[in-house]
């Protein structure tokens, strides 16, 4: 069983959703980022979604754009991202997936990139600007080297497209709970349960839901019907708020993650 499958199975056996946390690799610098990711994993995060910083993150809102910019300015490269994963693997067995843009995977050769990602200890790729129609090479390379391929389903995705996406996907399906770029929002959209149910008609893969969740109550609301809850911008904001006191980032993140992830249980009221 892959690490992702294990993580979802464990959460399910505990009657809760898996807690998926997003951070940008190298934000705000390599060492702080390594400590931050370790702190998150130690605080009980089930799956780490590691943003690979890109110069042109067109699916991301300002919070993640600035995070990528900080990471790149601090000297993050493809090699350093792999190094970060390698270092995380020294202390954690939790699944780590890359949240990335296709040019970063494509530019030096897809197969070589996927092999290197696997070698570093990554478990999957979520490539934001790569629809399944164009993903043949990535899917083949990932199957060959044993990485999962996570794909997004959006509120605008018609049901007829869902099988096209699930056919290329493995690990889990990521349902983005709103139309728009990443970033914190106040309200959870009302039609998510229907959307998740629609996806489940086409696949047995776990369905994680995210984009803009920022409170324990929102997490609890989503955890009631999703297999995984993704929190990103709310955590990245913690880093941004602590840029002047980087030594405190890990503790602040762990506290925030613990607070949010307390919402994943299904039996207990949030």
């Amino acid at each position: 069983m892959s690490r992702l499958a294990q993580a979802f199975a464990r959460a399910r056996s505990q009657d809760r959703a898996a807690f998926v946390a997003y951070l940008c690799a190298g934000d705000p610098d390599f060492d702080t980022s390594l400590a931050a990711c370790r702190a998150l994993l130690a605080s009980g995060v089930d799956i780490l979604e590691l943003g690979v910083p890109f110069s042109d993150p067109l699916a991301d809102g300002l919070t993640n754009q600035l995070a990528a910019q900080r990471a790149l300015e601090s000297g993050m490269t493809a090699a350093r991202v792999f190094e970060l994963v390698r270092r995380l693997r020294e202390t954690s067995d939790a699944p780590i997936i890359f949240y990335t843009y296709y040019n970063l995977v494509f530019s030096g050769g897809v197969d070589a990139y996927v092999r290197a990602a696997k070698g570093a200890g990554a478990d999957g790729l979520l490539t934001l600007d790569l629809p399944p129609e164009e993903a043949g090479e990535v899917v083949t390379a990932c199957r060959t080297h044993g990485l999962d391929t996570v794909f997004i389903i959006a509120p605008t995705t018609p049901e007829s497209r869902i099988p096209v996406i699930t056919a290329a996907a493995s690990g889990f399906i990521y349902y983005v709970s709103r139309e728009g770029v990443t970033g914190v929002q106040d309200r959870v959209a009302g039609n998510i349960p229907e959307a998740v149910a629609r996806i489940r008609r086409h696949t047995a893969l776990p369905v994680a839901v995210g984009f803009g969740l920022s409170s324990r109550a929102q997490v609890a609301q989503v955890a009631a019907y999703a297999d995984g809850v993704v929190v990103g911008s709310a955590l990245v904001n913690i880093i941004r708020e602590h840029l002047g006191e980087r030594a405190n980032i890990s503790a602040a993140l762990a506290a925030r993650a613990a607070d949010l992830s307390a919402g994943v249980g299904r039996g207990v009221p949030a």
């Binding site: 890109f54 110069s55 042109d56 993150p57 067109l58 699916a59 991301d60 809102g61 754009q65 910019q69 790149l72 490269t77 493809a78 296709y102 040019n103 970063l104 995977v105 494509f106 530019s107 030096g108 934001l128 600007d129 790569l130 629809p131 129609e133 164009e134 794909f151 997004i152 389903i153 959006a154 509120p155 605008t156 995705t157 018609p158 497209r161 996406i165 983005v176 139309e179 728009g180 770029v181």
Partner: protein, 407 residues
């Protein structure tokens, strides 16, 4: 000069249904936009086969934009070079000042058919933004134009023109604050407002169906040119030259000559301060295959795949990727590519202004630089056509600044 190689390619067979020009093009966007692009593709397919749509577009191109534009014999430039007979295709005479209006009109009509109420656009030089603002005023769309903060400064006049016509111009502060960042921001807006909004992309770039659709809306440039040169000279030209930012004016100019293999076609990129990293925007000089903002094409990038900084004196050519159809025809050796540097552009800008009484856009001046060089090498009985994609009114403040003239 050797004759161009015959391609044997049916130009109408490209792109394929997935938007591919050979290994270039395609659809590389977030899932949220996939359905919108498919709907746009379907709407465009219907429109292009609809005589009613085509007639309406022709009407507005004539009445609003001022088509056809002249194919003007540039007598003094010809004399100055002492070689080929030089003609200028006067897209600079169009309403709003550049070829961009052809595409803006076409897409606005399409947006109306699709029932969209709101239009967004990106702009570099501001010409596409101005054209979009104009058609939005004309058809009553709400209009938001994204523009890099650096471009807003160097094309301040165009910012004011857009605002006069009722568009909201939103400055983009990210990255190098030019065209690429404006496109990122426009795509973010579109992802967020996809149901109500049509995105009028301004060049033969991005995800399918844009490269094809934008090219089609500019084909009128080449179609008119062909008729005009045959009427005037009784034969096809020997060479045609256009500048290439994303590639829309060039593709529109060249498309109806692709099968006339005796006509040499040359696209001119921005060489900026010279071909060193970060100093230019010549994608075929140092760029490599990659994926940016919706399509696979040649891109200026580092070894990790991060997009490189670019530079050009002309905002409209200052962009890290080139339209996918250009990459395809370069591989086929059907279109040749060259580049012109900032200092040569400044010189040709003044030469054309002085000798012809025509102030060209800095973008178009890149085509002039190469065209004037080539004309000198060509025989007097040969014919060279240059697409003057826009007028230089928008550039005079910047040129004055570069020349050290206080206005």
């Amino acid at each position: 000069m050797p004759a161009a190689t015959a391609t044997g390619i049916d130009r109408f067979s490209l792109p394929d249904a997935g938007g591919h020009f050979g290994r270039y093009g395609g659809v590389f966007v977030p899932e949220t936009l996939m359905t919108a692009l498919q709907e746009l593709g379907t709407a465009y397919d219907l429109a292009r086969q609809d005589p009613g749509f085509q007639a309406e577009l022709r009407h507005h191109l004539k009445e609003f934009a001022g088509r056809p534009t002249q194919l003007y014999f540039a007598e003094r430039l010809t004399e100055h070079c002492g070689g080929a007979r030089i003609y200028l295709k006067r897209e600079d005479l169009l309403h709003t000042g550049a070829h961009k209006i052809n595409n803006a009109l076409g897409q606005a009509l399409l947006a109306r058919r699709m029932g969209k109420k709101r239009v967004i656009a990106e702009t570099g030089a501001g010409q596409h933004g101005v054209a979009t603002a104009a058609v939005c005023a004309k058809f009553g769309f709400e209009c938001v134009v994204y523009m890099g903060a650096v471009d807003m400064e160097r094309q301040a006049l165009n910012v004011f023109r857009m605002r006069l016509m009722g568009a909201e111009v939103r400055g983009v502060e990210a990255g190098q604050k030019t065209l690429k960042e404006a496109i990122n921001e426009a795509m973010r807006d579109w992802v967020t407002n996809v149901r109500s909004t049509h995105y009028i992309l301004g060049s033969a770039l991005g995800a399918h169906p844009y490269p094809m659709m934008v090219r089609d809306f500019h084909r009128v440039i080449g179609q008119e040119t062909k008729e005009q040169i045959l009427a005037r000279e009784g034969r096809l030209p020997d060479e045609m030259v256009a500048c290439v930012g994303g590639g829309s004016n060039a593709m529109g100019f060249f498309f109806d000559f692709l099968e006339d293999t005796s006509v040499r076609l040359t696209g001119v990129e921005a060489g900026g301060r010279g071909i060193t990293r970060g100093d230019h925007a010549a994608r075929f000089e140092g760029g490599k295959l990659g994926v940016l903002q919706g399509c696979k094409t040649y891109i200026l990038q580092n070894s990790d795949g991060q997009i490189e900084l670019t530079h050009s004196v002309s905002a409209g050519l200052d962009y890290a990727a080139i339209g996918p159809e250009h990459a395809f025809y370069r591989d086929q050796k059907r279109i040749n590519y060259a580049y012109a540097c900032d200092d040569e552009v400044m010189e040709a800008f003044q030469t054309c202004s002085r000798l012809e009484g025509i102030i060209p856009a800095l973008e178009s001046t890149h085509a002039l630089v190469y065209g004037l060089k080539r004309a000198k090498e060509m025989r007097k009985d040969e014919i060279l056509l240059i697409n003057l994609s826009g007028r230089g009114d928008k550039d005079v403040q910047q040129v004055a600044k570069i020349l050290g003239v206080k206005l």
